[in-house]
């Protein structure tokens, strides 16, 4: 079984990967995935910490926050993807750098 700090390192790496994806990618669907990766990094952290405090005991608080948060992330993804469909209808592309109606 990997040690506790391995999980923390994994979570931080995922967070950085998510940020990298959000900064460099131009496709809207990839940006949705970037945000989901960021949220999942926090989930891994919670699950790792839930078994950390008392050996052999798993804190139900962290488990419940992760399950609720997975649902919320699903809602977020659904709303963002539906706006992506509308954006594709209006602009004919999924490239975020072409969406430049609002300025100033």
């Amino acid at each position: 079984m990997p040690s506790f700090s391995a999980y923390l390192a994994c979570a931080i790496t995922l967070y950085i990967i998510g940020l990298y994806c959000l900064v460099t990618k131009r496709n809207l669907i990839r940006l949705v995935m970037g945000v989901e990766i960021l949220i999942n990094a926090a989930h891994i952290n919670f699950i790792a910490f839930s078994a950390y405090w008392v050996p052999g005991f798993i804190d139900p608080l962290a488990r419940s926050i992760v399950i609720v948060s997975i649902g919320l992330a699903g809602c977020f993804g659904a709303v963002l993807l539906s706006f992506t469909v509308y954006a594709y209808r209006h602009y004919g592309t999924l490239d975020v750098r072409r969406m430049r109606e609002l300025r100033g």
């Binding site: 979570a11 809207l28 919670f46 910490f49 948060s69 709303v79 954006a87 609002l102």
Partner: protein, 488 residues
């Protein structure tokens, strides 16, 4: 379920679209608006009924300690925020009964608006970070849909996507910060975290967690390097939604930052004062100077919200009880003023169909009541003496003097003077002589739009002349936030 204040909002947000399904489509906007206004009225009445009890000791729901120790804590600072949110929600609902009549899907609009207010009330009452996060996401997701509610308009879809991407990063960062805090203390209950951090020191992980939480909430509060979504989202949303976004939602994020700093992290107070002073100056400078360059009135008001977040941060950077009181008072007053300004420009858009500064020139002759209320709102935002904006700006200045940061107070006055420049441009456009015949058949706005405008203008003048009740409320709130021991 939770408390009647939140329950009535939940129940009405579910039954409003069901009623809207059965009534004829032509009158559904009026009927559903009236039904959901009933929900707000029940909620406000119950809150006012509970208020004397809350002032002596907070109500904790559930009373006993459950296994995961989540709780809703009905306390004084939360009541200040939720009173503002419920009042503005009621006004926005009455306003939308005529404003949204040309849109389709209005029953769902009222339902989403109500769910957003539920989220705001829940965040201000939450006693632990788990409850806070769930209500926070409820508020965020409904606000995304409301910003992009007119999905056939190109700009509103674009603004919603920008807003969602920024705010989604914010939510994920908040969750990551919370997980680090949970790892440090083993609980998410606010008073318990405070007690646990008081015992043992912080270390670098505590600072990392605090930094992530402030970044996450700072995206929602539009603290300057993270503000890029705000002018787009607030400028293109329907006007009653802009009023709530600008009036409550961004202030709620500042309120949560206050709660975290003064409640959980008072041990590291020394290090945050200069930090927030820098961001306050950046916000005031950027917001006021960019607003001078705008020709779209709603965008101008959105940039002025960024500037007002700067004024609000001054109180936090003072770090004293007076500073916190001034911050909470300015949150309340700015909510009223900015909501009134957005509702007035909404009434003008309803009649003229344009929000450009040159198009509204001379509208004051045709819509006298709306223009008078707009003038009151703008004078309040400048900080003119008989209005409520003056009281809170004076308190902010006094809190700067109190904590020995005179230069920050002087910058507050200088940037208030700069801000007069763009407010006067709107005033000049309102009172100008109409140039052409285009405005000759414009009438005063209809009654449901005028009721909230007149109520808010009256409240602004009343709280400017007689600020005692709200000042005492803010003072009591800040003393609750400063002393965690009172919750035990």
């Amino acid at each position: 379920m939770f408390t009647p204040i939140i329950d009535s909002l939940f129940i009405f947000s579910i039954i409003t679209p069901i009623i809207g399904f059965f009534v004829p489509k032509k009158s559904s906007c009026l009927i559903c608006g009236a039904v959901s206004a009933g929900g707000y009225i029940i909620s406000i009445a119950y809150l006012l009924h509970l208020l004397p009890q809350i002032l002596t000791h907070p109500i904790r729901i559930p009373m006993e300690n459950s296994a995961v120790s989540t709780s809703i804590m009905i306390d004084v600072p939360g009541s200040l925020m939720s009173l503002l949110a419920l009042a503005l929600g009621l006004f926005a609902t009455i306003y939308s009964m005529r404003f949204m009549e040309r849109d389709s899907g209005t029953p769902l609009y009222y339902s989403l608006l109500m769910a957003m207010i539920t989220g705001i009330v829940g965040v201000s009452y939450s006693g632990d970070l788990f409850t806070l996060f769930i209500f926070w996401e409820l508020m965020c997701i409904t606000s995304y849909v409301l910003v992009g509610f007119r999905k056939n308009v190109k700009e509103s879809v674009e603004a919603a996507i920008k807003y969602m991407l920024m705010s989604g990063i914010g939510s994920a960062t908040i969750l990551f910060g919370m997980s680090l805090l949970y790892g440090l203390t083993g609980t998410l209950n606010l008073p318990r975290i405070a007690l646990s951090l008081r015992m043992g020191g912080g270390g670098p992980w505590l600072y990392a967690s605090l930094g992530m939480l402030i970044t996450g909430f700072g995206i929602k509060a539009a603290i300057v390097p993270l503000h890029v979504w705000l002018p787009d989202a607030h400028g293109t949303a329907p006007s009653p939604i802009s009023a709530i976004l600008s009036g409550v939602l961004i202030e709620l994020a500042v309120f949560v930052i206050c709660k975290l700093l003064f409640f959980i992290f008072p041990a590291i107070r020394v290090s945050w004062m200069e930090f927030f002073a820098i961001f306050a100056i950046l916000n005031m400078m950027f917001g006021n100077i960019t607003a001078l360059l705008q020709s779209d009135v709603k965008r101008m008001l959105a940039y002025s919200s960024i500037a007002h977040i700067g004024y609000i941060l001054i109180g936090i950077s003072a770090g004293t009880k007076l500073g916190l009181t001034a911050t909470l008072l300015h949150i309340f007053n700015h909510g009223l003023m900015k909501a009134l300004a957005f509702l007035c420009i909404g009434a003008i858009i309803y009649r003229i169909g344009s929000k450009k500064l040159e198009d509204i020139a001379g509208v004051g002759r045709r819509m006298p009541i709306t223009s008078t209320a707009f003038t009151i709102a703008l004078l309040g935002l400048i900080g003119m003496p008989p209005l409520n904006g003056f009281i809170s700006k004076l308190l902010l200045f006094m809190s700067c003097l109190d904590s020995g940061m005179l230069w920050l107070g002087i910058l507050l006055i200088i940037f208030s003077a700069v801000s007069t420049g763009y407010y006067i441009r709107i005033l000049k456009a309102l009172i100008a002589t109409p140039q052409d015949e285009r405005l000759s058949d414009v009438k005063e706005a209809p009654i449901p739009i005028l009721i909230p405008i007149c109520c808010l203008a009256f409240l602004m003048i009343l709280l400017g002349i007689w600020p005692d009740p709200i000042l005492r409320f803010a003072e009591e709130s800040s003393s609750w936030l400063m002393e965690v021991g009172r919750y035990a």
